[in-house]
């Protein structure tokens, strides 16, 4: 038994293939988008179908500050990747820190919103269809923010311990793709829940 040789004349054109990390992340984003679409469809389907109060108009406020923070964190994440690509590790670490800070502000606003909804208006996931769909859709998004936050923190620690260099730029880019996706989903959630839903 021996291996049959399959090595032919090598063609002149360089053989380049897409990065597997980016392809893998793109696939994950596609799968996650499908999950979010189902939750958004459920939300839209049940708008105005609750049998009892409170209604979104009575209790929801536009989370303007949170939205600005989350969307600008996409810019800082991008800046982190570009500075790592130029091998400026400390700048990258600073941008990562800014991203994490903005994400924490966003989560703080979500927590505050949920606290008020639960303790002032008595809206829980079992109250009515609005509660069911609101907490599950916004909660699903917040879960993704938390997951992204954990991964960003790992990257930040790597940066602070000087364990990161320009060869990790591609890995950080994969992470930033995820983060951009989380932001893009928020645009949809914001439109559906806080604009259309009211």
């Amino acid at each position: 038994m021996s291996t049959i040789p399959v090595t032919r004349e090598v063609s002149e054109a360089p053989w380049t293939l897409p990065s597997r990390g980016i392809v893998g992340m793109a696939c994950l984003i596609l799968a996650e988008s499908a999950i979010f679409i189902i939750f958004v469809v459920a939300y839209v389907y049940y708008i105005g179908k609750s049998l009892s109060g409170p209604t979104p108009k009575q209790v929801l406020e536009l989370p303007i500050v949170a939205t600005i923070c989350l969307l600008s964190s996409s810019i800082t994440a991008h800046a982190a990747v570009s500075s790592l690509r130029k091998d400026r590790v400390s700048a990258c670490t600073a941008w990562l820190g800014a991203t994490i800070f903005l994400a924490l502000v966003f989560l703080f606003y979500t927590a505050k919103e949920w606290y008020e909804l639960i303790y002032h208006y008595g809206l829980t996931i079992r109250t009515n269809l609005f509660g069911t769909t609101f907490y599950s859709l916004v909660g699903l998004h917040a879960t993704h923010v938390v997951v992204g936050l954990i991964m960003l923190t790992v990257a930040l620690i790597a940066g602070l311990r000087k364990a990161m260099n320009e060869h990790h730029a591609e890995k950080l880019e994969v992470l930033s793709l995820y983060w951009h996706f989380v932001d893009a989903v928020w645009v949809v959630v914001f439109t559906v829940v806080y604009v259309l839903g009211r």
Partner: protein
């Protein structure tokens, strides 16, 4: 032309390993070939279990007024049979073959993410074990025999806490959720492998058709399995946190569950059947001694089936009151999907046309596939028309139709794949004689069972009934159907015997027993851990043909 160093593997004598070491090697492996084989073995174990359940169901239905099983046990049996066959036989076995074959066929040394691969396998396997654990844990440890009884689609609000108390439905939900996560992980891995691990010279137009099909199937997994995962999360929130997604008492909608389930459920049929097409694309040309006819058309048909399959789900809901507009759209979409499928059948026939066909066992099963898949498609067209469906919905006609696809097409393609790639995986040939016995018995049993099953359906026998009165004209048909089922079971036993026998006593295969053309035959059988001593580089769709026929290379004819 060919420059290389041949690696002689026979000289390396391997020391005998302890059983514990072997187990450790398999349990901790990240090698795509071992994971592929583990997927296949785990699917075969579940195939035997679910097949045994099918036999119990057929014993119960063989004669009228039978009290062999109680109604409750019957409900549990068809739920477990359906769930197991779709999630823990069909998907694992197809992903097992994909895992094993794709890196070999594209000339890579492993999958793109080997550890994700192992994770996906173990989480799927855990899902299957969890499903069967429900038999002892569904209603607490004292409720032995309390498996889920909500059928494989678990229609809401039947699955809500009010109608399904206890935990058997939770076991169902969690096992499907886990298998969904595992499937998505594998699909991500397959896409990343095919797009970024191809060997030098393998452009997308030279990619063998099997990886092409797995690529499209994986995209279907992303957009179809994820909705199922989302729906499982919703039903879990309903059951545990008291939410109201599918709780009709609080304004929730059962129809929404139907939509969410079938957005997964119909593309799932294509997720299962497309790899079967992939096996055909490899097996039929080799045993016809011709290159595949119409490679670009095959790719185009694959991609269009992928797209159209996303717009056919509501043909499962013709009788749910979608309205005429919805019914017309989904009737049309369902009929349109038969066009690319027809293109594929024509191309397989054109590949065989004028070829020097060798009817070895894999080719026998492939030919059986062609006939039966055509039959399945034709009864599918009957059901795709909304008025016919109003008449036949929830009768044995539907059961016969989808078993025609799942057994007649997919299982036959899988048997063909087993006979074709078993030498590659184990280094030994399966017995041709036992293979022919297996084939003919299975064909006879299959047609006896599923051809005749259409008749009681047309005569109005509803599905999911646990028994029926005598004198409705269903009795003798059911007896024959059950007899056919047992013939299939005997054929499957022959197949298992063949596999076990061949593993120890089969003829040694050598690297390329079928004189085939794709890259997996360019390495030893079974392949070494690193697949290829030298990473191959290719210049046409049939690299081994070029190697064997340097005077008449393929690349001159490709377009």
């Amino acid at each position: 032309m060919a420059t290389t160093t041949a690696v002689d593997l026979t000289s390396q004598t391997k020391p005998k390993k302890l059983l514990l070491q072997v187990a450790h090697d398999w349990l901790t492996t990240v090698d795509h070939k071992k994971i592929g084989i583990m997927y296949i073995v785990y699917a075969l174990v579940f195939l035997v279990i679910a097949g045994f359940m099918a036999m119990l169901i057929r014993i119960q239905l063989a004669v009228p007024n039978n009290h062999f099983l109680s109604p409750q046990v019957f409900n549990r049996l068809f739920t477990m049979h359906g769930t197991t066959m779709v999630f823990f036989v069909g998907m694992p076995i197809l992903f097992g073959f994909g895992n094993y074959l794709i890196p070999l066929m594209i000339g890579a040394r492993d999958m793109a993410f080997p550890r994700l691969n192992a994770f996906s396998f173990w989480i799927s396997a855990f899902g299957g074990i969890l499903l069967y654990y429900s038999y002892v844990g569904g209603s607490g440890l004292y409720g032995a025999g309390s498996a889920p009884d909500v059928s494989w689609w678990a229609y809401a609000p039947l699955t809500e806490k009010v109608f399904s108390p206890g935990h058997s439905t939770d076991y169902w939900t969690f096992s499907i959720l886990l298998s969904g996560i595992g499937t998505t992980g594998t699909a991500i891995n397959i896409v990343a492998t095919i797009l970024s691990m191809r060997c030098k010279g393998m452009t997308m137009t030279r990619l063998p058709l099997l990886p092409w099909i797995y690529l499209v199937t994986s995209f279907l997994v992303f957009v179809a399995v994820s909705p199922l995962t989302a729906a499982q999360i919703m039903i879990t929130i309903d059951r545990y946190l008291g939410a109201h997604f599918f709780d009709t008492q609080a304004g929730g909608s059962a129809i929404l569950w139907f939509h969410f389930f079938w957005i997964f459920g119909h593309p799932e049929v294509y997720i299962l059947v497309m790899p079967a097409f992939g096996f055909m694309n490899e097996i039929i040309p080799v045993f016809s001694r011709k290159a595949i006819f119409g490679y670009p058309a095959m790719v185009a048909a694959t991609v269009s089936i992928g797209f159209i399959s996303l717009s056919v789900w509501a043909h499962h809901m013709f009788i749910d009151g979608l309205g005429a507009g919805g019914n017309i759209f989904f009737t049309a979409a369902t009929m349109v999907i038969s066009v690319p499928t027809g293109i594929k059948i024509f191309n397989w026939l054109a590949t065989m046309w004028g070829g020097k066909i060798q009817f070895k066992t894999p080719m026998l099963f492939a030919t059986g596939f062609l006939f039966q898949f055509l039959g399945a498609g034709l009864t599918g067209i009957v059901l795709s028309s909304a008025p016919m469906d109003w008449q036949l919905n929830n009768t044995y006609f539907v059961v016969a139709h989808f078993h025609y696809v799942l057994v007649g097409a997919i299982l036959f393609a899988l048997f063909a794949a087993f006979y074709y790639w078993y030498p590659k995986m184990t280094g030994r040939m399966l017995s041709e004689r036992l293979g022919k016995w297996h084939f003919w018995l299975f064909v006879i049993g299959f047609h006896l069972t599923f051809d005749l099953m259409h008749v009681p359906g047309i005569l109005g026998m509803p599905r999911r009934i646990y028994t029926y009165e005598a004198g409705r004209g269903w009795d003798s048909w059911n007896m024959l159907v059950s007899a056919g089922g047992f013939i299939q079971a005997i054929a499957t036993v022959i197949f298992v015997v063949n596999m076990v026998w061949a593993f120890y006593r089969g003829r040694v295969a050598g690297p390329d027993p079928w004189d085939a053309w794709t890259l997996e035959w360019a390495t030893t059988s079974p392949p070494p851990d690193y697949n290829f001593a030298v990473p191959p580089s290719i210049s046409s769709r049939r690299p081994l043909w070029d190697l064997k026929h340097p005077e008449d290379v393929d690349s001159h004819y490709e377009y």
